[in-house]
Symmetry: C2
Subunit: 250 residues, 2 copies
Amino acid sequence: MTGRVTIAGLGPGADDLVTPEVQQAIDEATDVVGYIPYVRRIAPREGLTLHESDNRVELDRAQHALRMASDGRRVVVVSSGDPGVFAMASAVFEAVEHGEPMWRDLDIRVLPGITAMLAAAARAGAPLGHDFCAINLSDNLKPWDLIEKRLRFAALGDFAMAFYNPRSKSRPEGFARVLEILEETCEPRRLLIFARAVSTPEEEIRVVRLRDATPEMADMRTVVLVGSSQTRMILRQGAPFVYTPRSVPE
Amino acid sequence: MTGRVTIAGLGPGADDLVTPEVQQAIDEATDVVGYIPYVRRIAPREGLTLHESDNRVELDRAQHALRMASDGRRVVVVSSGDPGVFAMASAVFEAVEHGEPMWRDLDIRVLPGITAMLAAAARAGAPLGHDFCAINLSDNLKPWDLIEKRLRFAALGDFAMAFYNPRSKSRPEGFARVLEILEETCEPRRLLIFARAVSTPEEEIRVVRLRDATPEMADMRTVVLVGSSQTRMILRQGAPFVYTPRSVPE
């Protein structure tokens, strides 16, 4: 059997952030599977079938990829960013664990990509230059209480933070609650970065203090970064640099 | 003035994990600055000067890069992994903040790369597929108490964790203490991944339960990943898959 499933990260949007390893996997694929906007990033060619699917059908999509690989096809499952960060890799392994026993012995590989928080951090300077947490703010698949709990422990530990999926259509009030919790746990001068659609033509980077942050600053295409208590802003003629120093004083 | 400083991430080791964006910056550089093993990854060519420097001189290196850019040179500061994750980007911005006022208005850019924890996670499956923290275990630049505090809050929040610099020559006992704290705060079956030199010929991936983990499993080239309480292992003929499910039950 020569079939395989490769779960590949396309990075945040720009083609020059796709690794050569991922490009090669796509070039060798017979089938590409993924959420519509990610599959549309793949150039059509003879011998390649593109399978677009809607959002929130990750498990169906994963099973489809595994079935095709069992039939000998070279399937690439595309994710934006890194497939292991709030993306398709976990869904594929869930499908493997609970699916056909033979799926376990397929050739399954994950190819890392540039995840949104690191692309966003790079644009702003180095806000994640010290210890940090990544938290998915969507409560589609976990209880909201767990999100609040993690947020509070991250603030108590004085971690910098990166929030994925800060604001969804189905639950717009969640991010307002997150800002309230930050206001309870962090000083008003704490630095936040709202990074929207990084590396695409729609990119927007906004640096604000916590006291000036509002829920409307985030939408579904935004990653929000929160500095630690040590994070600093360097003012200059253009956009400011934001960075977290490497050292923490005793 | 046409000088610039580009802080570029070379990824964990393999050439096919270097983004085209980073490769282009290197192709256009007049000078490449960095820690010896990273500069050695750059192919020499006419018109390019390679400046190797020792470990632990990050601030000197950053100032050197900024001075050369002020003189009109196109300088690339190379980091392994992602330059914003426990690497050179913060050092450059520290040098900017405390250095010559004109340095603030230089063209300074950070180009993201594949950071070690995500390359390691991809090799093992998707252990960071849910909320996670990244912690630098080196106490060169921060008090050891802060490391312990962050570790405990990360465990209380049931985050998956990634540890950079788990074991240094100068303080070999630190990682043993980290394992003790994990034993106090996590169940003995908790999954750990020791990922050494990922994507290089010396790559070694080891999956163990916390009860079987020992300090000697980590060295200076290892990234250690710790699952959350939900992280699962899928046994199979080859190396097992380790993943953290996307959902957490109520």
